[in-house]
């Protein structure tokens, strides 16, 4: 019984809780038991907060008994370990924050707490969200529940693996260049990156502030809408959060696709795309057409420059954001006799190699004499990438494309070759540069049995039409019902 409870979607759990068919404590205990028994094989969790989760579950129970529950009251969730949780260690998968206990909640965590959600714990990621494989974690790599020799994707690999392996009902991650959508695709779950500014970034440890966005990783599209309902909306503590009121995203589910125009960007197919991925995505396009959508070919001509733009912009912002880790106010402090040495020892020993590499690249491209050639140039091409999407959305309501050019690769396969690793983000990165929303939904499997995701993109604040299309696709297929043997 306990094992079956863990397999339910967030919406199913929500419904059972509301009807008092299961108690939040029973549910939380089932998950904690499963995590204790199984997570040793995956390493999805960095911190499991047994006591905190049970306390939240008991509170949720009391609230439901009073008839004051909401849809997330008692729902057991996992949080990417870069979201500040009051009183609960938040490491960013880094030695430098290994013992950091935030004195406040990120806005998304505060909102979920108010809803009565249960936080099972904090999940693994690439250090400071810098990576595509969850191998760059000071706490060791997370493994893919579909094949433990493979990466789960990254940087929100712990979130995706925990959802796929039924180690939580749903999770939050963050997406700077594909870090929600790519692991969702590799683990066969749903992952949404909202429009930039739709969800408050207050309390999200900053990587590249003009690109970072928090979003849900879930078992179904409905679950993603349910979770986005709880976290979307303006926050006076994040001056980049949008003022536009957030609609009820559940209302977008169940709509008809007849006559809806779905753009197919020609640059996202062909050379470099694994044949299994191409076949699964093309079959998905046929499914959408069968549901009444009109497929139109569109072009995003600057796609080939997106990775180059991203690695200039993101690393420049990262080198600036990570300047705050100096060993003075919080975090690890390196041993040293004088202040300057202390900074260097703190940062050299505290940051892992990928983080050091990105800080180096960002420091270089922002340094005197190189700014125009790199940062300014990249920011100009970023404008062109945004305009590509604006032009495409004149002709269609959403775009449909692959999430990643290949299924999950093997552990250590790309670890020694950073540029190759960066290039695996080619289909997700433009979306962050343009600030638009995108979702990954399961759309098939490779010959080796690894999941493949379909990416659906919308214009700014186009989450409702993304949900409409993703949900219609999901209901017409059964890829999301196939689960890893884990």
């Amino acid at each position: 019984m306990a094992e079956e409870l863990c397999r339910l979607s967030l919406s199913e759990v929500s419904s059972l809780l509301a009807r008092r068919r299961v108690s939040p404590v029973e549910l939380t205990e089932a998950y904690l038991h499963r995590i204790a028994a199984r997570d040793g094989d995956l390493n999805a969790y960095i911190t499991v907060d047994e006591a905190g989760a049970l306390a939240q579950a008991r509170e949720a129970e009391a609230r439901l008994a009073r008839g004051e529950g909401g849809p997330l009251t008692g729902a057991p969730l996992a949080l990417k370990d870069l979201l500040a949780t009051h009183g609960l260690r938040t490491t960013c998968a880094s030695r430098i924050l290994e013992n950091f206990v935030p004195p406040y909640d990120a806005t998304v965590c505060a909102r979920l707490r108010r809803e009565g959600a249960v936080f099972l714990g904090k999940v693994n990621m690439d250090e400071f969200a810098m990576g595509s494989s969850t191998e760059h974690s000071a706490f060791g790599p997370t493994r893919n529940p579909w094949n433990r020799e493979c990466i789960p994707g990254g940087s929100s690999g712990g979130s995706a693996a925990a959802v796929a392996a039924d180690l939580c009902a749903a999770a939050l991650g963050s997406d700077t260049g594909g870090s929600i959508r790519q692991p969702a695709s590799h683990c066969g779950v749903v992952g949404l990156k909202p429009t930039y500014g739709r969800v408050s970034r207050f309390g999200l440890v900053a990587y590249a502030s003009s690109l970072d966005q928090i979003g849900p990783l879930t078992k179904t599209v409905r679950d993603a809408a349910l979770l986005l309902n709880a976290i979307a909306g303006h926050d006076p503590r994040d001056s980049t959060s949008l003022l536009a009121p957030a609609p009820d995203y559940l209302a977008a589910l169940g709509r008809d696709l007849a006559g809806l125009k779905v753009g197919v960007p020609r640059e996202y197919f062909g050379e470099g795309v694994d044949p299994d991925v191409e076949a699964a995505v093309k079959a998905a396009l046929n499914t959408l057409a069968g549901l009444g959508a009109d497929l139109v070919e569109v072009s995003l001509p600057h796609t080939a420059y997106a990775v180059a733009v991203y690695y200039v912009v993101a690393m420049a912002e990262a080198s600036s954001n990570l300047a705050r880790y100096d060993g003075v106010k919080y975090g690890f402090r390196g041993p040293a006799g004088n202040l300057r040495e202390m900074y260097a020892q703190t940062r050299t020993r505290g940051f892992g190699e990928e983080v050091r590499r990105r800080i180096m690249l960002g420091t270089y491209t922002l340094s005197a004499g190189y700014y125009d050639a790199y940062y300014r140039k990249a920011s100009q091409v970023r404008t062109l990438i945004r305009r590509d999407f604006e032009a495409a959305f004149q002709r269609c309501a959403v775009l449909a494309a692959p999430v990643a050019p290949t299924p999950a690769f093997r552990l250590e396969e790309k670890l020694d070759d950073p540029l190759t690793m960066y290039l695996s983000d080619i289909f997700t990165i433009s979306v962050n540069l343009a600030g638009i929303p995108g979702i990954s939904v399961p759309c098939g499997f490779s010959a080796a049995g690894l999941p493949i995701g379909l990416q659906i993109l919308g214009p700014p604040l186009g989450e409702p039409q993304i949900f409409t299309v993703a949900h219609a696709f999901e209901q017409a297929t059964d890829h999301h019902r196939r689960r890893p043997e884990f």
Binding site: N99, F100, V101, P103, Y196, P236, S239, T240, L242, H302, A304, Y305, V307, A308, Y311, V312, S319, D326, G327, V328, K329, Y330, G331, R333, A336, G337, N338, L339, R340, E341, M342, A344, R347, T348, F351, E353, R356, R357, I359, M360, L361, T363, Y364, S367, Y374, K377, A378, S379, Q380, V381, R382, T383, L384, R386, P418, L419, L433, A434, G435, P460
Partner: protein, 94 residues
């Protein structure tokens, strides 16, 4: 326009990173690979294109100038590697 080993060492100094000789060698190679790739941006004609630092046209949001509770000093110091008499402690500067 290749990045030299000395330049990499200088950038490390600017970033307050203390890299060993092996890591400087490795970073010199890897950063040059990445920068060579990034230089394909030069192909794009951007003479008429304004740069975009941010996707949301952000106006400075104003709010009422009202005193709100801040983080109490003890809590702010809780995560400090070294503290004394309500202050952060660092190695001597002068």
């Amino acid at each position: 326009m290749a990045l030299t080993r000395d330049e990499v060492a200088h950038v490390a100094e600017l970033a307050r990173l203390s890299l060993g000789p092996e890591e400087i060698d490795r970073f010199t190679r890897q950063l040059n690979d990445i920068l060579a790739y990034v230089r394909k941006l030069a192909e794009v004609d951007t003479r008429e294109t304004p740069p975009m630092a941010h996707v949301v046209p952000v106006a400075t949001p104003f709010r009422e100038d009202r005193v709100e509770a801040g983080l109490p000093r003890d809590l702010a110091l809780d995560n400090a590697p070294a503290r004394e008499e309500g202050a952060f402690v660092v190695p001597r500067v002068i």
